[in-house]
């Protein structure tokens, strides 16, 4: 029995985003309160501060199939924990280098800064990353390699 389903040929990115509990979460909240639409492709993980980002979380997200990862942080100079967002940036750059060594495009990582009231910016970030990821294509780990050999 065939299901009469419209099969989407277009790839829908699955994106993991980390936001801090201050500006990041509040921006999300503002976007929600204003009923601003943004792509459902993004799943959010809340951290006390973007300074708590561990490079391992980023790698794990990709290992588990995320097509892109981004961070939503307080603006530089306005981190609730003073300079946690600067650590977040540094870790992102470190993760980018590792991902390049592995063979991933560094554009699959991003960071966006906004204050808690910038709902538009929040929505725009999600939009930007989704579009960018659509262009980059799926996480390379999801496709079977053309080099031969099976994934079993």
């Amino acid at each position: 029995m065939w299901l009469n389903m419209e099969i989407k040929n277009e790839f829908e990115p699955e994106i993991t985003a980390f936001y801090c509990t201050y500006c990041g979460y509040m921006a999300a909240d503002s976007a929600g309160a204003m009923n601003l639409p943004y792509p459902a492709n993004v799943k959010f993980i809340r951290l006390p501060c973007t300074g708590k980002i561990d490079v391992r979380y980023i790698l794990e997200a990709f290992e588990q199939g995320a097509d892109s990862v981004y961070i939503v942080a307080c603006p530089i100079g306005n981190c609730h924990h003073v300079s946690g967002n600067e650590r977040g940036v540094a870790r992102l750059k470190y993760a980018q280098k590792i991902l390049e060594d592995i063979g991933f495009e560094k554009e699959r990582l991003g960071i966006f800064f906004m204050s808690g009231s910038q709902a538009q910016t929040f929505a725009a970030a999600a939009q930007t990353m989704t579009e960018r990821t659509r262009n980059l294509g799926p996480n390379p780990l999801r496709e079977p390699s053309l080099n031969g050999g099976t994934t079993d």
Partner: protein
Amino acid sequence: MIVAEQKSLDEIKGLVGDAENVLVVGCGTCVTVCFAGGEKEADIIASSLRMSSKLEGHPQNVRSVTVQRQCEWEYLDQIETEINEADLVLSLGCGIGVQAIAEHYPESWVVPGLNTTFLGIPEEQGVWAERCAACGDCILGLTGGICPIARCSKSLLNGPCGGSEQGHCEINPDVPCAWQLIYDRLNEKGKLHVLLDLQPPKDWSSSRDGGPRKIVRPDLRLLEEED
């Protein structure tokens, strides 16, 4: 502390080859402090190897474990099961740790993930610099606490040479001239006359030049049990 640096991922992949079950072993002491081979670094390398091997079409099973110190048998005992389950062990310990694992688990095949570089100090966050050459015959009492063997590029005992320029060594402007540092320190303390004595040639036999070294402390050895 011992300071080490990670090898490139490419070099590590070359050493790991296509082993099916790889165990990455981190170390919780020196290489943690210099961010080369601690628990985080071990997890990251394991993740990197899993991802890159999958990308290349031959996914490898890579797990990571970290011990307090790889250079002590008791800590290595704790990972016996993991070692036995692996086809290849990638040690992120210093050269001592790599050798300890190889010696303690002779059935296993161990490869290094780090280049052990020097004995040094974190001068500031993110910057480590060499301080000690482990020469076996410490002369820091003569030089105000600055080591000319390790910090002078030519290990001079009667320095400085003519290449000292504005406080840095001729080989690299980032390297301070050890003898300028010694001169300044002794000058501050009013002890410049120490530099007028001719230091005789060093007896290098206590350093690595004399062969691999060993220290035995009979007073600390475990007593034989009487049967």
